[in-house]
């Protein structure tokens, strides 16, 4: 009997951690094949890319806690990246009348505002009309995409990629924070860290955070116990939108250009990272540390596969399978928990 219990425990452990085991095995294999994978340049690269993708995942995490999701995230990143790149540039193609780059803080506030506005539309429709977030964010995704395309047609730009960014913008984001063994760690790693701390405080130490988890696990119960459900939902989506705005601001300078495809499919990576990191579609379950781990693991596996020169087409299939497995594990964990 005891032996059977032990076997069951081991089985549980293996199945609940199947994703981590596969990723660990893959990392071992990649390191054997390409030892430079564990070199400092590669590790710094993985950490920087993790930092770049963290804010959007932190935003989407809140929507998932509410048993929702947000598929407009990637396009909002694209729009805010285009806005940043068009205002903080040396060649004013979108606004031919401008001659000097706009002040950095102003543009940052502007893109955060744009993100919050889209988030408000999402959150209001979800909270007021009880629409499923999939439908609402699908439509805002398309609307925002249209806005990006029209924005890029403005002035004399004619839909082209925006580049030639202002030096102060680029150095503010991609400038060297410090160097490890001659490899520069960009400044946006620090910004990402600050955002993570802010989000941790919001999720764990504020009434709003507690309300978010209450609404996520049981909307009616939260309502009965005096939580303003509508305001909570709207604020979660707005907060997410602000995170996308910041991601767009960072991404414009990080990639050194912005076009209509900037931010495409970012939401898929972010949702996958959240689910891997234990933010459950069941609702009301999730931790900031889990999101950080999820984004990091996903980045490790994809940087590793890139090191092995695995074709990008195959990476999409792998990503899809990872999401499915993560969901299956997510459900299993919920069902076996007592």
């Amino acid at each position: 009997m005891a032996e059977k219990d032990n076997l069951k425990k081991i089985g549980d452990l293996l199945l609940n951690n199947a994703m981590y085991i596969i990723i660990a095995l893959a990392v071992v294999y990649i390191t054997i094949m390409r030892p430079s994978f564990l070199g400092i340049p590669s590790i710094v690269n993985i950490l920087s890319l993790t930092a770049a993708k963290l804010p959007i995942a932190l935003g989407i995490g809140g929507c998932i806690v509410l048993t929702g999701t947000d598929i407009s995230a990637g396009r909002v990143v694209g729009l805010t990246a285009c806005i940043s790149a068009s205002l903080l540039t040396t060649v004013f193609k979108v606004f031919p009348d401008m001659s000097n780059a706009a002040p950095l803080p102003l543009v940052l506030l502007l893109v955060i505002g744009v993100g919050a506005l889209v988030g408000f539309v999402n959150g209001f429709s979800v909270a007021k009309f009880k629409l499923h977030p999939f439908i609402v964010t699908l439509s805002t995704q398309l609307i925002v995409y249209g806005a990006i395309l029209m924005y890029l047609m403005r002035g004399v730009n004619n839909g082209q990629t925006l580049s030639g960014l202002a030096d102060n913008y680029r150095s503010f984001i991609t400038g060297t924070l410090f160097s490890i063994g001659g490899v520069a760690v960009p400044k946006y790693v620090l910004y990402s860290l600050i955002l993570t701390i802010i989000m941790w405080i919001i999720w764990n130490k504020t009434t709003f955070g507690k309300n978010m988890f209450a609404v996520g696990s049981n909307e009616e119960a939260a309502n009965v116990s005096g939580v303003n459900v509508m305001r909570t939902i709207i604020m979660v989506f707005m907060l997410a939108g602000m995170m996308y705005g910041i991601t767009g601001f960072l991404d414009g300078a990080r990639i050194a250009s912005a076009n209509a495809n900037t931010g495409l499919n970012y939401e898929c990576d972010a949702i996958a990272a959240c689910v891997i990191g234990g933010v459950s579609f069941v609702g009301g379950i999730g931790r900031i540390s889990g999101i950080v781990v999820g984004v990091l693991l996903l980045q490790i596996i994809f940087t590793g596969l890139n090191f092995l020169a695995v074709d990008a087409n195959m990476l999409y299939i792998i990503k899809g399978l990872i999401i499915l497995i993560a969901c299956a594990i997510d459900m299993r964990k919920y069902l076996v928990r007592k």
Partner: protein, 127 residues
């Protein structure tokens, strides 16, 4: 085993499974089937990675933008490209390969290494 323990045991065996909620609220699946699904999907994932690794290599295509055709090359991560014989085009002189179609970011064949599948574009000067 006394009665209460017996009852507990019975309850454990007959108790209905927890109901999933949230996005999964319509899902009706047993832990057993989930176990099978996880194992099968994990095997599929490993298989995909294995197939990906065995076909490893990034394809670099050369778009000569109206010039003579240049064959694509397959390279592993971090390798240099083999310098292709320069394409020709009537009325133009070739001035190197570029990462973008607007020929603003040049590709240095002796220094730049391949890190993804991509297309390089020919730069042309009017003669």
């Amino acid at each position: 085993m006394n009665t209460t323990e017996q009852q507990k045991q019975d309850q454990k065996n007959t108790a209905p499974q927890r109901q999933l909620r949230g996005l999964y609220s319509k899902v009706n699946i047993s832990v057993k089937s989930l176990n099978i699904i996880i194992v099968v999907l994990a095997a599929a994932l490993i298989l995909c990675m294995a197939v990906g690794v065995s076909n490893a290599g990034f394809t670099v295509q050369f778009d000569s933008l109206g010039g003579t055709t240049v064959e694509s090359q397959k390279r592993q991560y971090g390798e240099l490209l083999e310098a292709p014989s320069p394409p020709t085009r009537e009325g133009y002189s070739f001035d190197g390969w570029y990462l973008d179609i607007n020929t603003t970011r040049p590709w240095n064949l002796e220094k730049d290494t391949v890190t993804e599948s991509m297309t390089l574009y020919a730069g042309w000067h009017i003669l």
